[in-house]
């Protein structure tokens, strides 16, 4: 189209549109003046204008949403769909999302599957689906999934089936190698189902392990009759050259089986009948028995080629002791020529049962299926409940799951690897009551602690996680900042006696929801809820828990709600680290203990607070050490399994001189053993190792700590230490600057050493002066100024600082070590050593690191060596 021509058309169109429709004809006759082509053009555009009223009015994002995002309908937990109430999401797959729902009319649980919009928009497909569903629902057989209803609410089409408490055969095959007896039992039940269906004239067409459910009680249920037809497109569309998606692949998407289960006639696009199901069952049977697929290949086309032309490896080559009858049976189901196959499932059934009976006779009835099935699943609800009841002592503030949750579920296609890292964010207190804040903080923290005990899960530390409190949650951002794959968020509200917790577990790669759940309980049951949540989460993260771990999760630290409340509040204060806050923390922990004297964690809270008070010199270091140790021991006396108590004890031995590194390290490692995600334990250990001169190991531990608590300014600073001690000052400075981005500067002694060694004296002095304006009484800043003066050779000024420090500490000599350092900086060796000795006498040499460059001037003096011995540091 030439621009000038278009302009003509365009203008005409515009004016024509200005005319009322009735007058357009006349106008055009005049305006076009005989140019018929032109007139036709404009007229056709006018017609299009009429038709295009709503054309592209809705922005593309809507379209994009359909093109890019999930096209499947989604429901939210708690939502009502007709007379069904959505309880939770069971899973999702290529066929739509499946939810656990409550049938409010009949008072039973059901599985509710939403049909994808692409199906329901195609009227023909929908009609066929309904037909098949109707036929399938008429099938009444114990091994066929019962279809209760199909329905529609607004645009949402759904199908309601019985809810199966079990797992798909696929998962079972992934977990274990099936015993022959079990494989046969499953095959018999599936064959029974097929027999009933074939009798009613229905062919399944999609028999595969994903469609075979193993119920907890041993029943096998075949799913997706009728739906199979809906989901499959005619076979010609299969891309012969596409690589087969690996089964355990991305965390996304529908699982593609490693081998198609289709029959040769299906692969060839021919008509399909009952014998096709037999073939598919044959493949499943083969796989169950041998643990591998009968036809293998790297791509679809390879597998299909094998399927069409190759014979599978005989069972005997994959398994010792295969009954000959079984070998023959399998071979007959896998005949490529369907005329040579079993012609009816009933015949197959007869043979299967015969083989099964034979086998049982041979193995003396061992390998009874229902027994095996039970063994496979996790401990039964009754078993665990007993454990909990016998558990007298309050232990780790852990949340365990009442197995009901653990054995539940499994109605979905498993996407793949477990997620191995999670951050539990502080919940949002959506109620009007500020007092609920403690629950909003405490519950996630409890859940975190609980999950921290699991060895294969990295759980982000409270510090890092708390920085996101109150901010808009963007899971992706959090995932990036913290390096976690999943984030658990929640909201807490209260309604009268009831507590409502609404949770979401989000995959940080794409903000998709892995799991959502709503809990509605009485406030008094809050501990039970926490337990359920922790287990549910670990389930959803697909972690396989050992029996021991499950038990561990089942421990409750306290039954006393008030005690819990005090403890949580105490923790909140303890994290703030100022003198007043630490004292408050102590008071709250003591109150918690009064409420529940067996509350071990409350004692560790005490220990932690005293430790911090002593270390910072807010109280006499000796007293801090003593009280900290006492509280830690009390905690351990109540329960040896409290990781934090071991960490607290470890800190006492490795932070205060005289040190006992072997004992201390042992405690710290025990803490880590109990709770691998306990960041602080790694950090304390790192510092301990640095003190012992084991720098590489120290660095290793610090990096672990940082991984667990990437936003912690304290840990970030600890990373600096090994480099500083190795005399890699440039790197130390670089790391220090990074640490400064996470928190206020000048909070540790080593920082000043780094600045001094890098020669940035004036600049640091300037920054210190500025910092003093805000933090007036901070002795560390004063020390900092002093050490810089010493480095600059400003003797008189440095001595003045020393006087200031002396006056500040008074008789308790808290800052003795600091004064010694300044003297060392002035090369006043005599004084430096004297003050160090004084400090040691007063028990004030906490945090001493022998390899620090600051001690270089006095390192060779025998008095120094003597001090090291007295401090328990091997030379």
């Amino acid at each position: 189209m030439r621009p000038e021509r278009w302009q003509q058309i365009d203008q005409l169109l515009e004016v024509a549109l200005d005319h009322p429709p009735a007058e357009r004809d006349a106008f055009l006759t005049k305006a076009c003046a005989g140019d018929e082509t032109l007139r036709r053009k404009v007229e056709s555009l006018l017609r299009s204008d009429e038709a295009a009223q709503s054309f592209i009015e809705a922005p593309a994002v809507g379209l994009a949403a359909e093109v890019i995002a999930e096209r499947q309908a989604r429901l939210r937990t708690g939502q009502q769909l007709g007379h069904y109430q959505i309880l939770s999401k069971l899973g999702a797959g290529g066929m739509g999302e499946v939810y656990l729902a409550q049938d409010t009319r009949l008072g039973r649980k059901v599985a509710l599957k939403i049909l994808p919009t692409r199906f329901t928009q195609d009227a023909e497909r929908l009609r066929r689906f309904e037909q098949e569903a109707r036929a399938a629902s008429a099938l009444n057989h114990p091994n066929i999934l019962t279809i209760h209803e199909i329905g529609q609410v607004d645009a949402t089409h759904y199908i309601v089936t019985e809810f199966i408490d079990g797992q798909p055969l696929r998962q079972r095959m992934n977990d274990v190698r099936l015993r022959l007896s079990e494989a046969l039992d499953v095959a018999v039940q599936v064959a029974s189902a097929l027999a009933a269906a074939h009798e009613a004239g229905i062919v399944h067409r999609d028999i595969k392990p994903e469609n075979i459910m193993l119920r907890r009680d041993g029943y096998v249920k075949v799913l997706d009759f009728g739906l199979a037809k809906l989901s499959e497109a005619p076979p010609e569309i299969i891309d012969m050259h596409a690589p087969i998606a690996a089964k355990v692949t991305t965390g996304f998407g529908a699982v593609m089986g490693t081998a198609p289960y289709m029959s040769p006639e299906q692969a060839r696009g021919q008509s399909v009948d009952a014998r096709s199901d037999i073939f598919s069952l044959g493949i499943v049977l083969y796989e169950m028995i041998t643990g591998r697929a009968p036809f293998e290949g790297e791509s679809s086309s390879d597998v299909i080629a094998a399927l069409l032309a190759k014979e599978p490896l005989p069972l005997a080559e994959c398994l010792a002791e295969v009954p000959r009858e079984l070998e023959q049976l399998v071979a007959k189901t896998l005949c490529k020529d369907r005329e040579k196959r079993y012609q009816s499932v009933n015949d197959l059934l007869v043979n299967l049962k015969a083989v099964n009976q034979d086998l049982e006779a041979r193995t003396n009835g061992r390998g009874v299926i229902s027994g095996e099935v039970a063994a496979v699943h996790r401990t039964s609800a009754e078993y665990l409940l007993n454990e909990i009841q016998h558990h007298k002592r309050a232990v780790f503030l852990a949340l365990a799951i009442l197995v009901i949750a653990s054995v539940t579920l499994v109605y979905f296609e498993w996407p793949g690897k477990a997620i191995d890292s999670v951050a539990v964010l502080p919940f949002v207190n959506a109620s009007a009551d500020p007092n609920l804040e403690y629950l909003a903080d405490g519950i996630p923290e409890s859940i975190s602690n609980s999950l921290s005990q699991l060895p294969h899960l990295k759980v982000m530390s409270r510090n890092s996680v708390f920085s996101f409190k109150g901010r808009n949650i963007n899971a992706k951002e959090i995932g990036q900042k913290l390096g976690v794959r999943a984030v658990l968020t929640g909201t807490v509200t209260q309604q009268g006696e009831n507590l409502m917790i609404s949770l979401e577990l989000v995959d940080t790669r794409d903000n998709s929801e892995l799991w959502g759940q709503q809990y509605n309980r009485r406030l008094a049951d809050v501990f039970a809820v926490q337990e359920e949540i922790a287990k549910e989460v670990s389930d959803k993260l697909r972690l396989k828990l050992t029996g021991a771990e499950t038990q561990q999760l089942a421990k409750r630290p306290t039954e006393n709600l008030k005690a819990f409340q005090y403890y949580v509040q105490g923790r909140a204060y303890a994290h703030r680290r100022t003198r007043e806050d630490l004292l408050r923390a102590i008071s709250y922990c003591e109150q918690a203990i009064k409420e529940d004297p067996n509350f071990a964690l409350a004692y560790t809270g005490l220990s932690d607070a005293y430790s911090n008070l002593g270390v910072r010199g807010y109280i006499e270091p000796r007293e801090g050490r003593r009280k900290s140790e006492e509280a830690a021991r009390q905690a351990l006396a109540l329960d040896e399994g409290v990781a934090e108590a071991h960490a607290a004890l470890g800190l006492v031995y490795t932070h205060y001189a005289p040190f006992n590194f072997s004992l201390g390290d042992r405690e710290l490692r025990r803490a880590i053993e109990l709770s691998p995600s306990l960041a602080m334990a790694h950090q304390y250990l790192a510092t301990s190792l640095a003190r012992q001169g084991r720098l590489e190991e120290s660095l290793e531990e610090t990096l672990k700590a940082r991984e667990l608590d990437p936003l912690s300014p304290i840990i970030a600073r600890t990373v600096v230490l090994p480099y500083y001690l190795k005399r890699d000052y440039a790197r130390a400075l670089e790391l220090l600057r990074q640490a400064d981005q996470l928190g206020p500067p000048f909070t540790t002694l080593l920082e000043f050493g780094v600045y001094v060694k890098n020669g940035t004296l004036d600049e640091t002095l300037g920054r210190l002066e500025k910092a003093k304006l805000e933090r007036k009484d901070d002795p560390l800043l004063i020390y900092g100024i002093g050490i810089i003066y010493a480095a600059q050779g400003k003797r008189a000024e440095a001595l003045q600082i020393i006087k200031q420090l002396e006056q500040m500490s008074g008789s308790s000599l808290i800052q003795a070590q600091w004064i010694a350092r300044i003297y060392a900086g002035l090369n006043d060796r005599e004084q430096a050593l004297t003050w160090l000795e004084r400090g040691l006498d007063a028990g004030a040499n906490a945090g001493f690191v022998k390899d620090e460059p600051v001690w270089d001037p006095i390192r060779n003096d025998p008095r120094f060596t003597n001090l090291l011995v007295r401090m328990g540091i091997a030379t």
Binding site: F55, A60, A254
Partner: protein
């Protein structure tokens, strides 16, 4: 897990704006995630009646992606122009990818991210629209811009006014005529006329 740095995204965006087409190829996968998220949010909105400001969504997505300090959007026009173009590219990329797969006999159960099933119809429509829009752009780039801003960028008529500096009436007229032409082109299957 790869998340693009805003610097990376910004640099590529600027390179693209300055005419480097290759930059767009690199940019697309980086911003894909963000737009996915955006689309998912759009889908999840509370009630159909609740009109979400699409431009706000797009705006937000871009703010997340772009390093605000580095890029000085001379004016809103600039920003939204780029955003709209990018959105168009992404959508079409996706749609054409789908069509390719289907035509070549792609896996009948094409799974994209969490089992998202692409609507074949949807993709086909988009491609047709894109082709028609390209044809239109050949002789009327102003209309093309307006369609881009409105349809792909999600701007309202009023916002387009602000961005392009025209009167509301002009925008409304141009939009209407553009729609007519596009609709015609798509339904008749012809785009080239004497």
């Amino acid at each position: 897990m790869m998340t693009p740095s805003s610097q990376e995204v910004t640099e590529l965006l600027l390179a693209w704006r300055d005419g480097n087409e290759a930059a767009l190829e690199k940019l697309l996968p980086l911003v894909y995630d963000e737009l996915h998220r955006l689309a998912a949010r759009y889908m999840r909105r509370e009630s159909p009646g609740h009109t979400l400001q699409t431009s706000a969504l797009v705006n937000e997505a871009f703010i997340r992606l772009i390093d605000q300090q580095q890029v000085h959007w001379q004016n809103r026009a600039h920003f939204f122009g780029i955003a709209a173009q990018l959105m168009r590219r992404i959508l079409l990329d996706h749609a054409r990818g789908q069509a390719r797969a289907k035509r070549g006999g792609g896996l009948h159960r094409v799974s994209f991210d969490e089992g998202a099933i692409v609507s074949e119809q949807c993709a086909a429509e988009l491609i047709a629209l894109d082709d028609a829009l390209n044809a239109l752009a050949a002789f009327d780039s102003r209309k093309r811009r307006i369609v881009e801003l409105r349809f792909f960028g999600g701007l309202s008529n009023e916002e387009v006014v602000e961005v392009m500096g025209m009167s509301l009436r002009t925008v409304e007229r141009e939009w209407r005529k553009a729609k007519a032409w596009l609709h015609h082109a798509i339904s008749e299957g012809e785009t080239d006329e004497a």
